[in-house]
Symmetry: C2
Subunit: 214 residues, 2 copies
DNA sequence: TTAACTTTCAAACAGTCGTTTGAATTTGAC
DNA sequence: GTCAAATTCAAACGACTGTTTGAAAGTTAA
């Protein structure tokens, strides 16, 4: 098991499947599309991943794992090296993690962000059960750090702001523009992660630091 | 054509299809699921809407049309009744339109927001071509109003902020939480649109009014 | 070379897909 | 009640779905 040829085949399946899942969704992508684009036999997916569901899980975890590790490392660095930190620094830690993933071709570049953006709109049974308990640490640490930086906000409001922040970030990096549905030419160009980050930062920073509701 | 029974049947198909498309996506919903849940014959969809694609377009436009009209009316009211307006008032106009749709059962309630949130992540060929030119007016008017309220920002930056705003809004109302993928229990409760709006407003307002990038 | 094991392959499995057909039924106007 | 149009229906269309099978080919170590 897992000798030379096998790794190459399963990896090629993962690469192709990731792109197709992002573009057409899970239900919209067939096994035959995947295997023929990857140049492998149709039975290879079941051989290596057990099922189409198993393939999706493998595709997702290949990106989620390093992202979670990276994001956790960033927030740990921030909270241990300084006695105090600002909300902006917390946002920056999260965004840096996303950007390092998005600009590293080894991690699939921006495909990973699009996969995430798609996954949380398109509820896959695989994602509902197995992943949350595995990556709960990530969310907990960021919420705690935000809460420490914004002591005037209730826990509920901290959660909401984290939600707004991540929505804006992921959709910006993934290039998901709601108003694209209402306008022919795209308003913004999400190709350059560096530019996206520059545009995002003042918006996020001000949003996080804004006074409590009503 | 279009006598009593027909309207009832096609409407029931639209209602059921909308819910299923939102829950399972376009590719993930079959004609037989739709027609059996609606209690109509399988051939009824093709009879009334021509095809599955035609059904999706009908489902989408039934909501997009009144929303666009409402949103345009709100921004027109704001820009004509006052010589000057703030960015917050522009955001409020947009949000009020979304909320009036979301709280009106005749417009499907929050289903409409979820449909929108899903549609711009899941690119449907129907949406790519026909809709943008039809609803371009909406986006153009809001961008112009924002630009007037924030003269210190470049056009590019105005576009980005509108993008961030709509991303945060739609995902908040639709209950699409990225971090739900990483955490078992949901962080926030998106059931009450009034509460969502209260939490959103300070964040959005501060984000829009923040100083220009770098 | 033999042997055990991994990987690939073409073919077929039972279901489901969206769509079409032509006949049966219902409807509304005269 | 008659007639034509609108609507519903069961059945079937060919194409495609994810998965399984058992044999063929390839790989590795003794």
């Amino acid at each position: 098991m897992e000798t030379g040829k096998a790794l190459e085949t399963s990896q090629r399946i993962l690469d192709v499947a990731e792109l197709l899942f992002v573009e057409h969704g899970f239900a919209g992508t067939s096994m035959r599309q995947i295997t023929s684009a990857a140049g492998v036999n149709i039975a290879a997916v079941n051989y290596y991943f057990g099922s189409k569901d198993g393939l999706f899980q493998a595709v997702f975890e290949r990106r989620a794992e390093p992202f979670a590790q990276l994001a956790i490392r960033k927030i740990d660095e921030l909270t241990t090296n300084k006695n105090d930190h600002s909300a902006i620094e917390v946002a920056q830690a999260f965004m840096t993690a996303a950007m390092e993933m998005g600009s590293n071709p080894e991690y699939g570049g921006l495909v990973f962000v699009k996969l995430l953006a798609r996954s949380y709109v398109e509820p896959n049974p695989v994602l509902k059960e197995k992943l949350p308990q595995r990556y709960g640490e990530l969310t907990r640490k960021y919420l705690a750090a935000l809460s420490h930086a914004l002591p005037h906000l209730s826990n509920a409001e901290i959660n909401w702001r984290f939600h707004f922040m991540t929505s804006a970030m992921f959709n910006a990096f993934a290039g998901n523009n709601v108003m694209r549905l209402f306008m022919a030419q795209p308003l913004v160009n999400a190709r350059d992660p560096q530019l996206v980050a520059e545009m995002l930062m003042p918006f996020i920073a001000a949003g996080l630091n804004s006074p409590a509701a009503q």
